[in-house]
Structure formats: structure tokens, C-alpha cells
Amino acid sequence: MTAAETSLARTGFEALWAAKHERVRGREPSWLLQARENAWALFAERGFPTRADEDWRSTNVAAIANTAYATPSRSLDAKAVQAACASVAVPGSVRVVLVNGRFEPSASDLGAPQHGLTIESLSAVLASGPETLRGHLASQRSTVNAFSALNAALFEDGLRLRVSGRVAIERPIHVIHVTTGPGAFALHPRLVVEVGNGCELELIESFVGAAGVGTAFTNVVQDVRIDDAATLRHVRIVEDAVTAQHVGMTRAAVAKDGRYASVAITRGGALVRNDLYVTLDAPGASCALDGLYALDGSQHADQHTTIEHAAPHCSSTELYRGIVDGKSRGVFYGRIIVRHGALKTSAEQENNNLVLSNEALVDSTPQLEIFADDVQCRHGSTIGQIDEAQTYYLRSRGIGADEARRS
């Protein structure tokens, strides 16, 4: 991408920003307006990343940079949304639906209130008590690249989930992000998740396109805070339409003895980039990051993960597996940073890939940066192809050729 193209691309968002700025000025508290302006300034200065950018070496976002997006449609095709939700339904869960980035009560099923759990739309919190979001939104902790800056400047709505009072929430929360409507449009949903001391929560997020959806660009940011001895199990499933573009930034901070267990599954979308940045902030904090990407056609999916061991006696495990077919491309970049003084760190990372066609590609970059002594770290990466003997063995047991190749 040339510099001229980049600046051209920015103008599409400039109009959106100007309109947004007009709408929120005077309505939102000044600290939030300031945060939005700062974020926009950061985006305007940097522009969309190019492949010269080390962090974006393997992922070309020109398709996003060169598209003129509209704001998403507000009219709701209730049937299409319902069908999309039904296709990903998780039985027994609390269902929270966001349509084109906005909380949609009519499609949601919150059920009976669960003690200790609060589910609110971000716009409702901004209307009633924005100060409680200041810590998340003003700190810009999650604003680390052009996309998260764009989200911070333009976000409309999203969710805040809070658990407090040392409770374990029994029913999982299933957040379904549905995109619907024609044409090219961009949405910037934002999630704030706070799991208080000693609490437990399971959060499942599905990203799905309703039938007939155009080119939806989902640019989501998630701020996750896990307090002392709290646990969050966080499942994210990208099943977007084949035309979709999806960029996600998940920033999780884990306090003393807290645990973050993440499962990231990518099956859909034309262009997917997910950044997951976990900080283990105090002794006893741990995380387990698991991922699966199964790609076909001309899909491109990039998983970038960083685990920062900032305190001693923390442990992390990471296992990402990828299957690429057709002309698809899977990228795994896993970075583990062990900060000075983070003694007795234990970190294990593995990435295994299966390449099913000659034209599919995988880039796998595990990276360890260790600044502390007395740590145990291990990482590894494999890229393999299925061999004929294995395929024949599966087929000789009645498993079809195509299925054998995929299983």
C-alpha cells in the first residue's frame, strides 16, 4: 500500500469521525470526548498499518483500508437476526445479542437475574453513569494499534459485564454479535468485562453474519479485568460470513491468583486478525490460551497473542492449532514476555498446523523474551501435511476421503 492510498483510505473514516464528533460533543463527559479525540489523533497519525510494520508483516489490511464504509444499518431484519442467533445458540446460556454492534433487547434473553452479575449495554452506562467506565475508557490501555484507536474514537455501543460478591455465575453468558444489512459497513463494538475478587464467569462470544449480509467490518475491543482469585473462561468464536472482515483486540489483566482461560476459534470471515494481550500482574496469576483456526477458500486469519509475565510465580499455557485448506492462510504469532523479576515463571507455548492443500500457507512465529532468571519456558511449532498412509487407514475404516483429509 502506498502512502497516498493510506491517506485516501483514511478520508472514508474521516467523514465518519466528523459525524461522530458532532454527535457526541456536549453529550458525553469531557474526559470521554478527550479520549476519543486522542484516539483519533493516534489513528490519523499512524494510518492503517502496512506490511512494513513488523506486527503486520503477514497480514495485508489493504482490503479494509481501501473500502469506503458506511455506518451500519439501524433497521432490523428480525427474522434473519433470529436465524443467525439460532445457528450458534448455546443451550442453557444467558443470551445477549448485539446487532451491528448495538445491544438488541428484543433478540436477547437475559432470563432471571443472577446474584452478583450485572449485564448492561455500554450506551446505557454512558447515559446513566459514565464515570464508572472512566478507568477503562480514559486509560487507553487497550489502544495499542490503529484499529483499537479507531474503535476508541468511534465506538457507539457494546456491553459491560460485571461480577462481584465472590460468586460463581452458573449460567454462561453468550454474547452473539450479529451483522446484518447490505453494502459495506463498519462497526466498533466494545466490551468491558470485570470479574471481581473470588468470582467466576464463563463468557462465550459468537460473531456471525445474518443471511444476505454485505461486507461487514467488525472492529471489536474487549477490556477484561480479572481480580484476585477470580476466574474468567472466555470463548470467542468467529463464524462471520465469508465476506466479513474482523479485527479484534482483547486486553486482559489478571490479578493475584486470578485465572484467564481463553478459547479462540476462527472458522469464518475473509480477513480476520485477532490480538490477544494478557498481562499476569501479580503472583499466582495464570492463563491458558487455546485456539483453533480452520480455514478454506481464500480466507486469511491472523492470531497474535502476547502473554506478559509481569510478576513472579505466574504460569501460562498456550496451545493453538490450525488447519488450512484451499488457498487460505493462517498466521500464528505468539509472544511471551517474562519481565525482569518475574522469577519462577512457568510458560508453555505450542502451535501445531496441518496444511491440507498445496496452495494453503501457514506462518508460525513463536517468540520468547525472557528478562528474568529462574524461569521455565518452553515453546514449539509444527507444520505438517497429512500423508497418504494415514488417509488410506481412515478410509479403510469407512471414513470418507474428504472427511479423512479433514479429520
Binding site: 487407514y393 481412515l394 478410509r395 479403510s396 475404516r397 472427511e403
Partner: protein, 257 residues
């Protein structure tokens, strides 16, 4: 008696070289046949051709299975129709658990027969019964298919799969090779437990010792790509005593018994 398998004048090449030079064989339901022969006689090629392994060129002859042209079917179709091969060298498949693999296989076969697919609970109940037959520990099910299994475990796993899939025609390709006497007994017990009037078995073997435990109805000797001699159990004992030399000699001179 129903004829399950009818092989007529089967000729096949591998890498341009003729391996099978006209095999004739008929196996009826309820029978156990043993095919014996020296190394390189074409035993494994015959097993491979019957199950549709790639790399063979069939130049002549026909194979009917339950009256159908077996050679026209893909490997998976043959399996779904009830043909099973216990491999001489079972393949390791890291990344797929034995359990997942076997359930997928069983459900593919059940689906083909118009039966309902089994869920994990029903499947587990079925599997537990079969495990006892081959003395396999349950934790083996959770491990990746054959990965890190001992030679004996691999062979027992083949018999275990056979017990779960309940095929109509069982081909065992040198399942007895490389087994100690205890493992051999377990394999033989598994084979015996599966003998039934509807099912036929063809045991391909180099040695006679498996036949001490599994009493075959017919014994054939394969040499230089042809069945050169057929007989009953006594033929195997004779081979054990005299070796293959005398039969190979006879095959070379073109005399068939």
C-alpha cells in the same frame, strides 16, 4: 452356503511389476481361510487390492463381494459394505483420539446401513463390552490412534476395531507377526469370538502358529502370485515341517495342485 467373496483370475501390478498372476479364491459365509506363503509371494498385495489401497494396477480378473463388483468401490465404500482389513503395519495418526476415530468409523458404517448414528454415551457402552475381548485398557481409547502404541497394542487395537465395527468380511494381514505368545492368544481369542455363520475371515500369515489357535476351514498357499496349493488344516502343519521350498519349486515348474 452363501458365497461372500469370489476372486477370479485376479492379476495386478505394483510399480509396473506383475505381483498377482491370476488368483482364484472363493470364500463362503461362516468360513475361515488362511492364506500362507513365503515373503514376496503377493499376500499383502492381495489384501491391499481387496481393500482398495492406491498404487496397484489391476490388469485382469474380477472380485465379487456379496455379488457386487468390489473393485469398483472406493476404500470407504468397501468398509461401509462390511469389508475390514486388519493392517500388517497399523498407521499412527497423532491428533485424532482412538475413540473419536472409531466412533466416526462406526457411524459412517451405520449411516450407510440406514441405522441411527450413536452418540458418545451409547458408543461408550458398546465399546466397554468390546474392550474386554481384546484386553485393552480404557485409557488407550483416549490416546491418539496408534501413536506410541507397542507393536502388540497396535495389533490388538486392530482386532478391537474389528470387534466394534463387526464387519462381514475380515481380512487379517499378518496380524500375528511380531507378537509374543500372550498377545498372539489374545488376537486369536478375538478372532475366534467373532466367528459366526454370517461372517467370513481370511487370515494372511507367514507362520503356522496363529492357526494353532484359530482353526481354519481352508488353507491356501500363495507363491509367485498364484495360489499353488489348497487344503485343510493339515496343509499348514506340513508347511511348518517342510517349509515353503518344495511348494515354490512346484510353482516354478508350473505344476499346481
Amino acid at each position: 452356503m452363501t458365497t461372500l467373496l469370489q476372486i477370479k483370475n485376479l492379476k495386478a501390478n505394483a510399480a509396473g511389476k506383475q505381483i498377482l498372476k491370476g488368483i482364484d479364491l472363493e470364500v463362503n459365509a461362516g468360513e475361515v481361510h488362511a492364506i500362507m506363503g513365503p515373503n514376496g509371494s503377493g499376500k499383502s498385495t492381495l489384501a491391499g487390492v481387496l481393500t482398495g489401497r492406491e498404487g496397484y494396477e489391476i490388469t485382469d480378473g474380477s472380485v465379487l463381494y456379496q455379488g457386487k463388483d468390489l473393485l469398483a468401490l472406493s476404500p470407504e465404500e468397501r468398509a461401509r459394505e462390511g469389508v475390514f482389513l486388519a493392517f500388517q503395519y497399523p498407521v499412527e495418526i497423532p491428533g485424532i483420539s482412538n475413540m473419536f476415530f472409531l466412533r466416526a468409523a462406526l457411524n459412517a458404517i451405520r449411516k450407510h446401513r440406514g441405522q441411527e448414528e450413536l452418540d458418545a454415551v451409547d458408543f461408550m457402552a458398546l465399546v466397554k463390552k468390546k474392550l474386554e475381548v481384546v484386553h485393552i485398557k480404557e485409557d488407550l481409547l483416549k490416546r491418539p490412534v496408534n501413536a506410541g502404541f507397542s507393536g502388540g497394542e497396535k495389533k490388538r487395537n486392530e482386532i478391537f476395531q474389528m470387534a466394534v465395527l463387526e464387519p462381514t468380511l475380515c481380512l487379517l494381514d499378518e496380524t500375528d507377526s511380531g507378537l509374543d505368545i500372550d498377545a498372539l492368544r489374545i488376537v486369536a481369542d478375538g478372532v475366534n469370538a467373532m466367528r459366526s455363520p454370517e461372517r467370513a475371515m481370511v487370515l494372511v500369515t507367514h507362520y503356522e502358529r496363529l492357526l494353532e489357535y484359530v482353526n481354519p476351514d481352508r488353507v491356501h498357499v500363495l507363491a509367485h502370485g498364484r495360489i499353488v496349493k489348497s487344503g485343510d488344516r493339515e496343509l499348514a502343519r506340513e508347511l511348518e515341517k517342510k517349509g515353503y521350498g518344495w511348494i515354490e519349486q512346484a510353482a516354478k515348474t508350473g505344476a499346481t495342485a
